[in-house]
């Protein structure tokens, strides 16, 4: 008996490892038509894990103080062993994680996988997307560059469009009248201590709900495929692993050949509260709501519409209760979906180039 077999046997005697693998990996079936789009959730989990690990490394060197944050980060980039690699993975990874979450969201919507009995799965997923965006918002300020300072000024000013509570929310986020060292401390605490347990809990709940309700079969399947679907291991996990490898290859492509894609010139200038740079914009994922708020003349109406849309997004499974899951058989819903997607893209581009 080899050492490996002895370890397996030791574990098997204590925790029933073989039974666990047989039941939850080999015995768990996924729909036979589950393609690469079904693996986006798995990719998102890996993306978050990459953010956590690279974040831990950055945490070793990062100093959350307005006087040291920017220069400390430059030291990480230039002097810490492979600090540049971890920082670039963290920066590029954060953007790619949001992109993967958006894709996951679209595929779930398109396949109608949010319908009964999966309403709670959608809700937890939607909340996870919001938490991911909060991660991005709080992390954006930490480099304390001109880009981070002024982009945070824009985003934290957005709640002021909301009467009564708006100013309070902005003040709560900033800690002071303007973005300052106090804001940096708040965002740092939010980024590394407050948000992670919430996100991990939501992730656990999301996975639990998926296990309880099972992976939703595609409404577009033409044949039944393999009866009972494929086992999670190795079939589906290998598909997921393939997508994770693609994700990592794309990430390193950006780091190698487009290192300034998410780090424009202003990201290399220390924050200066007295010098407002031209053309500062929030991250690409906030550009659509930012542009929408700019376009609507009544700012309260603007923020109200945005909050309403957010509510509709989160509670969509409870609003769309029709049983038909195939969006192709629901032209109105398909039209609204495509229109929303087109508007989002247009607003994002408008926000970027305006």
């Amino acid at each position: 008996m080899t050492l490996w077999q002895r370890i397996i046997r030791w574990l098997d005697e204590r925790i029933g490892l073989t039974e666990l693998v047989d039941t939850h990996l080999k015995g768990y079936r996924v729909p036979s038509e589950a393609g690469v789009f079904y693996t986006l959730g798995m990719v998102a989990v890996v993306a978050y894990a990459i953010q956590a690990v690279t974040g831990f490394v950055l945490l070793i060197y990062y100093i959350p103080h307005a006087d040291y944050a920017f220069h400390g980060l430059q030291e990480i980039m230039r002097k810490a062993p492979f600090g540049w690699l971890f920082r670039m993975m963290h920066v590029v990874g954060s953007n790619m994680m949001v992109a993967v979450l958006f894709l996951h969201l679209f595929s779930v919507f398109f396949t109608g996988s949010y319908k009964k009995p999966r309403e709670l799965t959608w809700l937890t997923g939607g909340l996870m997307l919001l938490f991911a965006l909060l991660f991005c918002l709080s992390g954006y300020l930490l480099p304390w560059s001109q880009l981070s300072y002024w982009a945070t000024t824009i985003v934290t000013a957005m709640p002021t469009a909301f009467p009564y509570l708006g100013e309070y929310v902005t003040r709560l986020l900033r800690g002071t009248e303007h973005v300052s060292g106090v804001t940096l401390n708040r965002f740092f605490a939010l980024h590394v201590a407050i948000l992670p347990p919430f996100l991990v809990s939501l992730m656990g709940l999301h996975v639990f709900l998926i296990r309880r309700t099972g992976i939703s079969p595609s409404p577009f399947r033409r044949s039944e495929g393999q009866a009972g679907g494929y086992p999670l291991y190795p079939h589906f996990l290998l598909k997921g692993l393939f997508m994770v490898m693609v994700y990592l290859a794309v990430m390193f492509f950006i780091i190698s050949f487009m290192p300034t894609l998410f780090l424009p010139a202003e990201a290399n200038v220390p924050a200066d509260p007295y010098k407002t740079p031209a053309h500062i914009k929030p991250g690409w994922y906030f550009l659509a709501p930012y542009q929408m708020l700019k376009l609507i003349p009544n700012k309260f109406l603007g923020i109200f519409i945005e909050l309403l849309l957010l509510g509709v997004f989160l509670l969509w499974p409870f609003l769309d209760t029709k049983e038909e899951r195939n969006i192709m058989r629901r032209p109105l819903l398909l039209g609204v979906f495509l229109l929303t997607l087109t508007l989002w893209i247009l607003l994002t581009l408008w926000g970027k180039y305006s």
Partner: protein, 282 residues
């Protein structure tokens, strides 16, 4: 839904009562961050560009806006004193207003900031001639006043120098300066390239600025042999900066190659996993 819409309608209709939040919103969100660079016009500029100003003084602010001083946020009151925020007291001696200096006082006027240059200038033939007989050139003679450009070796030219003396001596000074100036120009370009690649180059920029300022100050002695003797010293200082730039450039090349290698590794693994998954599917 209708309750939500009703609530929205009440809020929108009562919008005049919400002037407070709107004011904050416009100040914080609408105007400041994306209206372009924040330009704070001093009362000096306001007055000098208005109709009430005599025509011969109106061009001053426009010239200044094209100047190197403007780009480096050196404003009217930094040289002329006075209060840039209070029109009534803007030209009050109590607020340190100096006005326009006399011809021989110009070097000290500029030398408040350009200390090293003033020292060398006063020891030079130019400075001595000015102080002795009011006939030597002052700073404005060569550099101009409000529309001042970034100093460059090109300022030494036949047209400008031969207004007072023959160009020959100035030419030999220009030749002595050429190598170091050229080197400085190249380093500035390299630093700009590094900046565009996402590298923070402030330390190198500051080192270059110090060396450059020191070298320019030396030039104001207009002592060709002194400049020639000290060229090696400045070249060595610039070499140190150049070396750091080269190190950073090779580090960038290493980073690109390293992450490209990892990219290929993951791309290869993706192919392997894909083929493996196919065998399971079959």
């Amino acid at each position: 839904m209708r309750y939500i819409l009703l609530l929205a309608a009440i809020h929108i209709l009562s919008s005049p009562a919400l002037a407070d939040f709107r004011e904050v919103f416009e100040r914080e969100f609408l105007l400041k961050p994306w209206a372009g660079a924040e330009v704070e016009e001093s009362v000096c500029v306001e007055c000098h560009t208005s109709e009430i100003m005599k025509p011969e003084y109106r061009h001053v602010a426009e010239e200044w806006k094209l100047s190197w001083h403007y780009q480096n946020r050196v404003s009217c009151h930094d040289c002329h004193g006075g209060d840039p925020e209070d029109a009534a007291m803007s030209m009050s001696p109590q607020r340190g207003f100096l006005g326009t200096p006399g011809y021989t006082a110009v070097p000290e006027f500029c030398g408040k900031c350009h200390v090293g240059i003033l020292r060398n200038y006063l020891e030079s033939g130019h400075g001595k001639a000015l102080k002795a007989g009011k006939r030597g050139p002052n700073c404005v003679t060569c550099h101009g006043s409000h529309g001042i450009s970034k100093a460059s070796i090109e300022i030494i030219n036949d047209r400008l120098c031969s207004r007072c003396h023959s160009y020959e001596r100035a030419k030999s000074m220009k030749q002595a300066l050429f190598l170091v100036e050229k080197k400085i120009e190249n380093i500035e370009k390299d630093l700009e390239d590094l900046r565009a690649s996402g590298v923070y180059t402030e330390d190198e920029r500051k080192a270059l600025f110090r060396t450059h300022a020191e070298f320019r100050a030396l030039f104001h002695t207009i002592d060709v042999s002194l400049v020639k003797n000290r060229t090696d010293e400045f070249t060595k200082k610039l070499d140190v900066i150049q070396e750091r730039i080269e190190e950073t450039s090779s580090e960038l090349a290493f980073r690109r190659n390293f992450s490209a290698f990892i990219m290929l590794l993951f791309a290869g693994m993706a192919v392997v996993v894909f083929l493996l998954s196919k065998t399971y599917m079959d």
